[in-house]
């Protein structure tokens, strides 16, 4: 695991460095916004990564409710945590850009509000995990994850009707959209870098959670056996 981690870490480091170079030096300066637009290369990849993590969390939670495997639960926890971190990056870089460009830090626009509510939902998911104990945590958490996920389209629909200010999608966003190829390149490289980096963090967190589960299972098994006064069998026999 350690060698693999080193290799993937180096790949992520190289990609992030190359992405930084592309975003800061190679990509042309935006005509009206100037250099502040360069935050876009970090804001958008973080957002895409966060949404992907939340989607992974939904899949893992649904899988857990169907199959009840501890691996799915560990994956759900790890993806929610990493997703919240990336979502926090989105919510911090957004206002940093909005202040010089819009003249305001924050507005209750469809995408901003949806992202904020998404963040709130997954923070509440992590709080629920923190405050529930024992074997019921995964079931409660998975259920809340399902509820949170089906809430997202409703949130988006409602706030879209409410008001909208966020820039329209610049990539594949219909007429008049499209960006300089060098900008697109910088964006995509940064997204790839963030994905690899996010995947590494996800993987490490997943391994950590699996180890914690196994320790817990071993403890439970041992207590059970002491109670029954039977000899201890190999604790690794359980998954």
């Amino acid at each position: 695991m350690r060698t693999k981690l080193t290799i993937f870490g180096l790949i992520a480091f190289a990609l992030l460095s190359y992405g930084l170079y592309q975003a800061m030096i190679v990509a042309p300066t935006e005509a009206t916004m100037g250099n502040v637009q360069r935050i876009f290369y970090y804001h958008v990849p973080s957002a895409w990564t966060a949404f992907l993590m939340f989607f992974a969390n939904f899949l893992a939670s649904a899988w857990y409710l169907i199959k009840r495997g501890p691996r799915a639960d560990a994956f759900a926890l790890a993806s929610a945590e990493v997703g919240v971190v990336f979502c926090t990056v989105v919510l911090i870089t957004g206002p940093l850009w909005a202040r010089p460009v819009w003249g305001i830090w924050w507005t209750w626009d469809a995408r901003l509000t949806t992202t904020l509510i998404l963040w709130l939902i997954y923070v509440s998911y992590l709080i629920l995990r923190r405050y529930s104990s024992g074997g019921q945590t995964p079931v409660l958490a998975a259920t809340l994850a399902i509820f949170g996920f089906i809430d997202v389209p409703i949130v988006y629909l409602s706030i879209r009707y409410f008001r909208t200010q966020h820039p329209q999608p610049v990539i594949a966003g219909g007429q008049g959209s499209g960006i300089d190829p060098l900008m697109l390149k910088a964006l995509l490289i940064n997204w790839l870098a963030f994905l690899v980096f996010g995947a590494i963090v996800l993987w490490v967190r997943y391994k950590l959670e699996r180890a914690r589960q196994q320790v817990e299972e071993a403890h439970a098994l041992r207590e059970e056996q002491q109670y029954e006064e039977k000899p201890l069998i190999n604790a690794r026999a359980i998954r």
Binding site: I117, Y131, S132, L144, I146, G148, I154, V155
Partner: protein
């Protein structure tokens, strides 16, 4: 089917009878909502025109906070007396228990709203410009949106360490679109500026989606060990 209806009826009748005799939930909700109304009135000190603009928000925030008081009590008694354990080993359908609890909470919060509405009208000098019957529809849809998820999440939060604090923490984020729809629809009716139809439809969709989700997942929650 008949057991579904029988369990539903007996649970609901039991809850209503207990509430009628003790008046625990309704008293604490009423007093809490009254406090919210008075405190808001002092903090914002609105004129008649302003109060028409903000009343929709105030009403629903007061009802939301008050509803949490009742929702928190939904399962506490059942847990204390091991009713949930008994329920788990009995063949009774889980969803009829859930529906009975939800309808019970709907009635409690509905009664609260009926009692509080005149007070709101008095304190904030409200006179709706739009049609009044729409307020009843928004009230019913909005209350259902609050209590259906609230009852479900209360069954989850009862199993965590800090029970009473946990419910709003997990209920409010998911309820934000419903709350927005209730507030916007109520404001639209009170001011007569715009049509509340979109928000009423949104509430109906929200109710439908989450009632289905609750019914599909309640048995899982009830049996979580």
């Amino acid at each position: 089917m008949s057991s579904l209806a029988a369990v539903f009826k007996s649970t609901l009748a039991k809850d209503l009878r207990m509430e009628w005799r003790s008046k625990d939930a309704i008293n604490s909700m009423l007093f809490f909502a009254l406090l919210v109304v008075v405190i808001f009135s002092f903090s914002f000190d609105p004129t008649a025109e302003e109060s028409r603009q903000i009343a929709g928000g105030l009403i629903w925030v007061a009802f939301l906070f008050a509803a949490v008081v009742a929702l928190n009590q939904t399962w506490a008694r059942e847990l204390r007396n091991q009713v949930l354990d008994a329920y788990r080993i009995s063949p009774a359908p889980a969803n009829s228990l859930f529906l009975a609890k939800t309808v019970g909470n709907f009635i409690f919060v509905g009664v609260l709203e009926l009692l509080m509405a005149p007070l709101f009208v008095m304190f904030y000098n409200l006179r709706p410009i739009g049609p009044v019957w729409e307020l009843a529809v928004v009230g019913a849809l909005g209350t259902w949106a609050l209590v259906v998820n609230g009852t479900f999440f209360a069954a989850m939060s009862i199993r965590t360490r800090s029970r009473e604090v946990m419910l709003p923490l997990i209920l409010f984020p998911v309820s934000i679109p419903a709350l927005l729809a209730m507030v916007e629809a109520t404001t639209a009716i009170l001011t007569g500026d715009s049509s509340p139809v979109f928000w009423m439809n949104l509430l109906a969709v929200y109710d439908l989606v989450f009632t289905t989700a609750c019914l599909l997942l309640f048995e899982t929650i009830l049996n979580a060990e």
